[in-house]
Symmetry: none
Subunit: 135 residues, 4 copies
DNA sequence: GTGGTCTAGACCACG
DNA sequence: GTGGTCTAGACCACT
């Protein structure tokens, strides 16, 4: 389920966090669902257990998961709304950085907007079930 | 002119590269313009000369600047077109990453687009004024 | 395996690059083979780790080797053909320089050719023997 | 008469040495001929006088020229034969290095020979008067 | 353990 | 004065 890209710039533990984060948002991991054990996942992903441990620890610090002593890690009963809100904040921050960078490089807002829209269109326009919900 | 953020995750030498890169793109440093000497800049930015040297060396490798023995570093007479093209490629790459991240977080393209446009509108509405100044 | 000449004009990090480059070309280091760690090699060659790091970094920039985070440096799976082609280009460049230098010194092409051939003949006549060994 | 390449890897003072060396071999500068003064040459070549001084100093150390106090630099009455012999020794050394490098890169002697001859043929086959001398 | 960044300070060649 | 190389030693993130 989780794919690790060894050659990516992104640290492995980050890739794991993102993947689990994603799974929670997608509803694959529900609140109070038990996560795979560190060793189990380490074997499956062919990764050092320390790396998994670090990913779990960080998620625990963020309140995304919690540990039961001797029993493993569980998904926090955080509302999806909260998660979505956090995700939006992160994305917002990255967009702001992007706009600043473009500006300092002498790329105008209109150019940036053009680039952005063309890339957005290229990106798989497949629409998931959730997005087809009637509002 | 160059500001170093000591607490940033971005390495100091990278911050310097970006700052100079941007200065060149913005036309502040013209082709064959002499850059501040390594020691000079080191003192000014309160950074070790080795760190500046690393930044300059990397820019030299990229062909952004060139050295004259015993005389210092100079801006390459690379055509602005080339630099702009590079800048666009970099921005394009970052937008693609952004889109991917948003996707993996379960943020739909339409939401992302909305966020992007609202941030773009907020960004420095002063610029248009300045450009409208009568000389 | 790598010998450093402290008195050479050639920088230590360059000597290291050349030695490894040659080892790869000679097939001693195969693609995806792990290189000695920076610290390890530093101790072995009695050189500062920074110097080794600089050599590795440069080879990485050239695409000759690649790093796995936290795991070390590995030989790039660049095709041997590419490497051989590069080697020929380098040698070609050096021959051209040689010819130019000889010219500017007033040494005629025929003289140069004579010198070259006599040196070539002297060079290790043992090799042919070895290649003729019956296995 | 002397051309300086600012962008060359070769130090300027070396370029000057080579040029004068060449002039002497070509018979343009005869023994006990007076060389241009340091300042004069510096102005003509648009080079720092220190650089000219270094070139002259080095040639003096090699016995190629000699100084008369207060009068300037003069070509040594060294026989051309000696100069030619020195030139050959230098070239010989460089050829030996070339052969070693090629070898360590896995380029066979026959390949090297082929490369060498093809480059030699390409190099301006113009033959000067001196080379047309009857032996 | 791995490499990456940074500082401090030294010596060198070049102009 | 300029940049280039090197050492010594520190702290960091990642596996």
């Amino acid at each position: 389920m989780i794919r690790i890209d060894d050659n990516s710039q992104v640290p492995i533990y980050q890739q794991i966090i993102e993947a689990i984060h994603h799974s929670i948002l997608a509803g694959i991991y529900k609140p109070d669902h038990r996560l795979p054990s560190i060793r189990e996942l380490a074997v499956k992903l062919k990764v050092n257990p320390n790396t998994i441990a670090k990913a779990y620890q960080e998620m625990s610090n963020e309140g995304l998961i919690y540990f039961k002593r001797g029993q493993g890690a569980y998904v926090s009963p955080k509302s999806s709304d909260e998660l979505i809100q956090e995700a939006e904040m992160q994305i917002t921050k990255r967009i702001q950085e992007l706009v600043e960078t473009a500006e300092s490089m002498g790329i105008s807002n209109s150019q940036l907007s053009k680039l952005f829209n063309s890339i957005l269109e290229q990106s798989h326009p497949t629409i998931s079930k959730n997005n087809q919900e009637v509002k």
